[in-house]
Each structure stands twice: as structure tokens, then as C-alpha cells.
Symmetry: C3
């Protein structure tokens, strides 16, 4: 079940990457690369930082095919995607939660300290999008707009909290998804944002 | 022989990096860093992703001296480089093929699955240029202009195809270079590009 | 003693990251991420490139708390920071030297060749700032302004030179700090820069 959600999630992230590439007028090769990086880049950075070799996707070549196909398919269906906006944002939120949980889980198994476990969950959740934006030469949107990275943080803490209370794994997972997706969708609907830090003095 | 081609290739990539740094008015230190990253960054990313430690260039300190020298030399010869345009683009194409073959070879020896082998070849071939562009704060050109990443893909597939057919290694290597360099030079001469994906709707 | 300097240094780097995030109007989450990456990103890249797992900060969760706190604290004290400009720049210079020495030391212990040791020192010293600038979508300032990367290079060479001459470790460390901080502060005061390479021809 979580595997199925994961596959849907990486496909949704790949589509988000493809749209970003389209906004930059990339060629179809660029679309494939950005789709790949958006979907699997967060997990790659996490595995490298945790020293978790071999890296996840290298052991599942099917994932490569899935994300590249999803990216290229996006080129075809793009003119109709705004009609699926809600579904797409919901899948993206689902991906954020799934990635965060998987990141925590892997770091836990490697016996890292809890702050590192939370960082691993958040890196998995948000770094695909950060790399997508860096490669598209724009500032990472996750640091500016509606709650996104915060959702990942809340999900990671909730997951670890329920785990510490010995709540069973299925319930923990379900609760994490419900809270995470609800938080993200509410943030989008009501424009919830974190306070912004503006500093314009130039003295350096 | 392949070692000699590799040395020429990393020097050519270093020069391409130095020119990009010059377009951004970097100081000579920046030139050296961008030259290094352009020439050896693709192989570094490949080795990290494959978990292939120690990373290649750390075992060949001479490579560090070569690429930094090539980068700094470029500062001196830059006013005359446009006269060598054809030679330079040919060396760059040669580098693209050499890097792709080396990337495939290393992943094959580590027994990765074929899709990962192809990715390793392409990462080696194009990621130096991607990192160069990211550090110069511009969108990676390999995703927008004449066939480049596609050349790497074709070379990797040709290499693996001939290998599967038990063609001997020398012939495979020569054919890969001939096809790859020809494809790249023809793309440059005739402006061959992949179709572009433009998506300007803003609904997120 | 060096540990204390290191803690001050990562806090100073985190503050520099937070100010850069503020110049880009990031939210407080972005501030925390940029602070973290600026302070600990250079060491992370060094550890990954050297294959030095587990990565330093994953074994010291306290560092995570320190740099994130320093980053968020910066949001509060930012209106007053220009009054502390000199102190802040001195701490930043101290951090540059401390990071460079630590990077050299780690690579030496792993028995890498001397050019790799110097690269490790410089990566530790400057890559946090490079990653900060990449994530803030601007060209890395270390490649354009007053001597900064050069200070790291001089410090690394001085450290290795004194070590080769069997000068004792304490004296070597003190001398490296004195020379490095003096060089950086003089460069800032007198506007010392490396020559710049400008190349505007477009023939590619």
C-alpha cells in the first residue's frame, strides 16, 4: 500500500518537475531530467548524506522509467492540467507526506539521532523541489510560499511522537497522511504562510 | 589511448568552464573553480551516486593541476579562442563521448542495472556542464540548445548495444566516438534541436 | 579551544546565511535552511567527496540546533546588526580559517594526497557560502569580491608547510589564524581583489 502511494507520489513530483521545465522552455530532454531530479533527487540527497549506499533508485530501475514517462506524458497532457489542479495538488501533498515518512524510516533504521531522522525526512520531502528550482534557475519556492516545508516538519515530528508512544505502525501512518495532507490543503486554500524575513541593508 | 583522450577532454571542459566564468566576470579564483567543476564535476556526481569511493580525481592529483592550469591558461588565450572555435567544439564533443563511455564502464563494473549504467554515462557526460551553469547562475544550456545530452544518450545505448552483441572493445569504442562526435557536430552545423516544451499557465 | 572557535564559527556562518535569506524575503523556514546549509554545507560536501561517512554533523545533533537557533536569532537582531559589522566580519574570517584547517586535518587523517588535502580545506572553507548563494539564486560572491577563497588557499598551504617543517601543532594553528584573519580583514579594508576575467564574445 505504501509502495503504491510512493509510486503515485514520485509520478506526481515528476509531473511537477516537467511543468517547471516547461515554464523555462526546456527541450524534452530537459523535461525528462528535471522530472527525474524532482521525483528522485530528494531521496538521492538523503541517501548520500546518510551514507545509505547503494542509493534507492539505483536498485529499482523501474522507478527511472516511471518518472521519465510521467515527465514526458506531462508534455502531452499539459494543456488540460489546469482542470486537474486540485487533484494534482492533493497528489503533490500526498507525495510530500510519503517522502517525509520514508526519509524518517530509513534514518531510523540506520540508528541516527532523532534530529538527524527529522532532517532526513524533510530532505526527502522537500529537496527534490529545491533541486528542481535550482536547475530552473529560480529561488526555491518552498522557502517563500504557502506552508510546505513546515508540513514535512510536522509530519516527521508527529510520526516520531506517535512511534515513541508505541502507537501501532498502520495508525501512525494513516494519521500522518491525514494531518499532513489536511495541513497542506488548508494552507493552500487559506493562503497560510510563515512570517517572512526581509533584510535589505547592504553593509557587507 | 583512451587515457590520452580523457586528458584532452577534461582540459577542453575546463576551458569551456573558464570561458563561462569569464562571461560572468569572475576573478581568477572563480575561473579555477568553475574550470575544475566543469571538468571533474560530472565524474564526481557519478561516483557519489554510485557510491564509488574514493572518487576518481582524488586518486589522480595530476588531474587537479591539469584542469586548473587549463582554466587559467584560457584567461591568457581567450582573445584568440574564437579562431579555434571549430577545434574547441570538436574537443568538447570528444569529451562528451569520452565521459559518457567512462561513466558506463564504471557503472558496469559495479554491476548496476542497465538503466543505471546509462544514467551513469549521461551524468558523467553532462553534469559538469550543468554544475558550471548552476554556479554561473544561469539555466543549464544542455536542456535548451543543440543536441548535447541526446548525444550522450545515443553513445551510451550504442556502447551497450555493441557490447551485448559481443563486438570487440576497440571497435565499440571507435564506433561510439565516430557516431557521437559526428552527431554533435552535425547538430551544431544544422541547428538540430529537440522539440521544446513551453508551459506558461500559472495555476499553482 | 578549537572546538569553541568552531562553534562560534558555524554560528557566524549561520547568521551570514540568515541575512542572505532575508535579502531574498524568505520565510523563517527558508532562513533556517539557508543558515544550516551555509554553516554545515561546506563540511557536508567535503565529507561526501572524501567518502568520510557518517557525515560530521549527523554525529553532533547539537550542531543542528546551534545553527538553526543562530539563524532564527538573526531575524530578531537583524535591525541592529550593522552596528556589529566589524565583529561579524571578523567572526566570519575566523570561521573561514577554522573550516579550512578542519578540512585539511580530516583529509590528512584519511591519507589523501596533498593537493586533495588542500582542496578539502578549501571546500570546507568556501562551499557553505557557495551553496548559500546557489540556493538564493545569485552568483557565488566568493568568486568576485574581496579575497576570500584565496585566504582559504593561503591558510591551507601555510598549515601544510608548517606541518612539513615539524612546527608544533599549537603554533601552526595560531599562526594560521593570525595570517588568515589578518589577510581577510586587510583585503576588506583596502579592497584587495584578484584580477577579474571578462569574456564577452559569444561564439558558441
Amino acid at each position: 500500500m505504501l509502495t503504491f502511494i510512493y509510486l503515485v507520489a514520485i509520478a506526481a513530483e515528476a509531473m511537477s518537475g516537467a511543468l517547471a521545465a516547461g515554464r523555462r522552455n526546456m527541450d524534452v530532454f530537459g523535461v525528462a531530467v528535471i522530472a527525474f531530479v524532482t521525483a528522485l533527487g530528494g531521496g538521492t540527497v538523503r541517501d548520500v548524506i546518510l551514507g545509505n549506499f547503494p542509493i534507492g533508485w539505483t536498485q529499482h530501475p523501474g522507478y527511472i522509467a516511471l518518472v521519465i514517462s510521467a515527465g514526458l506524458l506531462t508534455v502531452l497532457v499539459a494543456p488540460h492540467m489546469h482542470r486537474l489542479k486540485r487533484l494534482f495538488l492533493a497528489l503533490d501533498a500526498m507525495g510530500l507526506v510519503a517522502f517525509s515518512l520514508i526519509g524518517c524510516d530509513i534514518a531510523l533504521r540506520m540508528n541516527y539521532a532523532l534530529p538527524v531522522v527529522i532532517m532526513a525526512g524533510m530532505i526527502t520531502g522537500i529537496f527534490g523541489g529545491v533541486l528542481r528550482d535550482v536547475l530552473c534557475n529560480q529561488m526555491p519556492v518552498v522557502f517563500q510560499r504557502e506552508l510546505y516545508a513546515s508540513v514535512s516538519l510536522v509530519v516527521c515530528c508527529l510520526f516520531l511522537g506517535l512511534r515513541a508512544l508505541d502507537v501501532n505502525h498502520e495508525l501512525t501512518t494513516v494519521l500522518s497522511f491525514v494531518v499532513g495532507i489536511a495541513m497542506r490543503m488548508l494552507a493552500l486554500r487559506f493562503g497560510w504562510k510563515l512570517p517572512t524575513f526581509s533584510y535589505q541593508q547592504r553593509w557587507e
